[in-house]
Subunit: 309 residues, 2 copies
């Protein structure tokens, strides 16, 4: 049971209508790992600069994340993103991006990272995703994320990377763009015909949908009256989803994938309640399980919510 | 057990990337009634012109819809709408709207229509909705739809109408606009604080969400690889939803509302498979029940889809 994630470790400055924060630890691998650590041993791989200090290390290591594959690059600066969200939190504006040490990233995996049972290739250049995939040949389940940039600039590499994984986890707009197919069900089937056995379409506040050869499953976003910062929600989703899968023995069948969708949804929902990693950093397994059961009730035709029983 | 719907009976000319049709019978009351008739006695109220002939009457009456409250206005023309959809079927363009006899619509309800158990006030001017509501004082469940036009031009009337119904069924963007609240859960609560016990947020291809005092329920849109014409999907949803509710004895509790959401989703999904009323007009109850069970499986954490069993 071990999970390797390769992606950004970053600092984020974020402004939303509900507040702002400067230089919070963030990035895909951070949000992913803080979600996945509730289920399994998770190991983020990636470079950081001198601005990544003991406090940042402790935020991860102090919560059980294995930090051995975080590479400190002396004299470098960590990936930095500055963005703001409109009152409609679905609308984000990037104000600054500085790749820093991430611009020269060449994934170096320790033997422990290479021997992962489950692998998440976060949104990085597709040729790098393939390099990592090749180093983790023994993984029993491998998923990747991507973005419009790589569809525009490295589509052939991305298609090659997709052929080598079990699962694609991307926004629904990206699945449509990737396949040139506006119908989501057809777009998902087109992706599965490339090789993956599962496609997860992230749909923001509308939740997420799972397509497999056996059928379709969908969950709404967990309804929240307080949403303060959506940054990292998709990464927390992936962390809950793959963390849960890595914790399961035996076949990762559709029932297992569906429960993983539930944990992904729950972790994403906690992520957005506060800024950056604030909420997930102090989350407990009991809170996760409680919300998972609430989500199950919310999608069950026959079970009334507890308050109506 | 009887259901009255007050709204447009229209002719639609529609073009989508998958074909086009001229002057099909459409309008809210038509789509609604053809969906609701599977569950109950449904009675559309509204005016039509000389262009509404025997073929149109037969499309409704031949399928069990009670047509006694369809008022023929001699020398008049029926409501007409011409529109086209982009390849992304979520993007619609209205090319022509001619109100015809609908422009002078003053709802005249027969005694039978007034004594309805369930009432649907489709998207018409809110003062007219209130007039109808007052005439159907004995209805045990009353729902209304509305649109951005009325929020912009007759908001006070609309708010008064909302206070007098049990359920609001509108697009999620409209709930947000109506309440000035971008967070959907908060917006739905604000609507319920005006009076209604339930709010249904229609979310297009993402499905629909139900808010009640007891909790939250959501269903995805039924996944379809062939979608040809989304016109009337929301009306078919409302017809399935309210038709099912009218068919139920006893309290319309949350479990009942959830099943109604399922039937609404199923009817909407058939609606969009072909142009106008083509698919729903030849639909069978067996097909509805089969898809309802499929939808239930698609949202169940524990049940595998049949093909994986």
């Amino acid at each position: 049971m071990s999970l390797t994630v390769v992606g950004s470790i970053a600092f984020d400055s974020v402004r939303t209508p509900f507040g702002e924060r400067e230089h919070m630890l963030g990035g895909t691998s951070v949000h992913f790992s803080l979600a996945a650590r509730f289920f399994t041993e998770v190991r983020p791989v990636g470079p950081v600069g001198d601005d990544f200090g003991e406090a940042e290390l402790e935020l991860l290591a102090g919560r059980g994340v294995i930090v051995d594959d975080i590479e400190r690059v002396p004299g470098g600066r960590s990936f930095f993103w500055r963005g703001r969200y409109e009152y409609d939190l679905n609308v984000a504006h990037t104000e600054d991006t500085q790749l820093g040490v991430f611009g020269d990233f060449e994934p170096k995996l320790s033997e422990a990272a290479k021997s992962a049972d489950v692998l998440f290739l976060a949104n990085i250049q597709p040729d790098l995703q393939r390099q990592v995939r090749a180093q983790c040949a023994g993984a029993r389940f491998c998923a990747l994320d991507s973005m419009n940039l790589w569809i525009d600039t490295a589509k052939d590499s991305l298609l090659a990377a997709i052929r080598e994984v079990d699962c694609v986890i991307v926004n629904d707009a990206e699945i449509r763009q990737l396949t040139g197919e506006s119908n989501l069900a057809r777009a998902a089937r087109a992706v599965m015909e490339m090789g993956p056995r599962a496609v997860v379409a992230k749909q923001g506040e509308y939740g997420a949908a799972l397509f497999t050869e056996h059928g379709f499953f969908a969950l709404p976003g967990f309804p929240l009256e307080e949403v303060r910062d959506p940054t990292g929600a998709g990464d927390s989703f992936a962390g809950g989803f793959l963390g849960y899968l890595d914790s399961q023995d035996g076949d990762l069948d559709d029932a297992c994938l569906r429960r993983a969708m539930g944990y992904g949804t729950v972790l994403a929902s906690f992520n957005v309640e506060e800024f950056g990693t604030e909420r997930v950093a102090r989350l407990t397994r009991e809170e996760i399980d409680e919300r998972f059961e609430a989500l199950r009730d919310m999608t069950d035709f026959d079970v009334l919510p507890a308050s109506a029983k």
